[in-house]
Amino acid sequence: MRICLNRVQILRDDWFLSADGRFCEGTHLVSGRIGSGKSTLALVMAGLFSPTSGTIEYEGSPSTMLSLQFPEYHVTGSTLIEECLSWGLDPSRILLNVELEDRPDSDPLSLSRGELKRLHLACVLEQQNDILLLDEPFSALDCDQKMRLCNQLSKRTSGITVIFTHEQEFLPPIDRYWEIREGNLMDLGRSPGDGNQILYYGQKQERPET
């Protein structure tokens, strides 16, 4: 399974993004300054935004899921139960899982942003998609929830996971690092000595057995 970006270019007024690269199975981290084009690249890789030029190819006809940076953009239900049902999931199980079981009839938009992100990510991760594109998945999560997400992501044994983020403290094991610099997606390769460790507390921990 691979995602191939073939000379992808996005031009907008005086702004541009150029991406040429192969995303193979494993976990990828894409970083870059504010406004560098991380979210735009996520949309392109999800097939939701057509680049100005270039093509994107998916080898192996994978299923794709994009988690947007702002969890509120995903909300379609007017209660937490409806929101879980809209993902085709069992509300009681999901809400128990994210510790919101005592608020099934609450409006999703009345949750704190961290709670909404936690609910959203639980629904996303239930889907078991081949390609998982996560735009700022750690934003608004508390430190325990960030750690929990790292553990969940590190248990994905197949498929392609791409994390677009500024996060530096909490990260799952990363197989390949990318950075958008001055409008160009750069392949930074495998960082020295890692790929099977969770970054946490500044110490390296071994990847849990799966």
């Binding site: 991380k38 942003r113 608004a140 500024h166 530096q168 403290e169 507390y201």
Partner: protein
Amino acid sequence: MIEITGLRHRTLTINHLTITPGRTFLIGPNGSGKTTLLRLISGIDEPESGTIIIDGNVPRMVETGWVNEYPDRNILFSQVYDEIAAAPRFAHLSCPDTETQVLDLSFRIGLKHILRRNVRDLSGGEKVLVAIAAAIISRPALLVLDEYDSHLDPESCHQIDTILRSGEMRYIIGCTQHMDIAATGDHVIALERGRVAYTGSPSEVFRHYENTAFYPNSWRITQ
């Protein structure tokens, strides 16, 4: 001094809490009541019971800048320039003075190149920077930042931090999930389940969080 006494509001219970001038960071798990407390201190909500007094005034009498944790909920105008210029214009500043303030601040925050863009087309991080600029341009006595850093890169956080440390605003109260940022504050308040678990200097508060994910990363490395 901000004095909170006998506060009961939704899930929040605070019998007594004082906040001194300077940079105060509120920490705690998602759903622990951080936003609820920030809304009360900023005067957006009024407490069901109890009082909050800021230098002898109720919150609604204090000029306050507010940044919402949902970046889109901050935006009033379509163009970045108009959004940042809102407070000086509402204060009837002249157009040239408004322009000087907007240009000066946008330069300091690194927004000068996007002043003519539509706010809706900005990236998540850029929206937050615009909201912060709009909140601080009039140098309010109280600046309240709800999770302002969750969409910012480290360089932008540093730029904002430089402005927050400049002493232009008497009280800065923000919540964050980046404990390294909280550890640089003058004062840290840790909330757990709607109550103040710990309050004091960063070292006084974080010593209770050793061996948890809430301990600042940088402190662990240097020890």
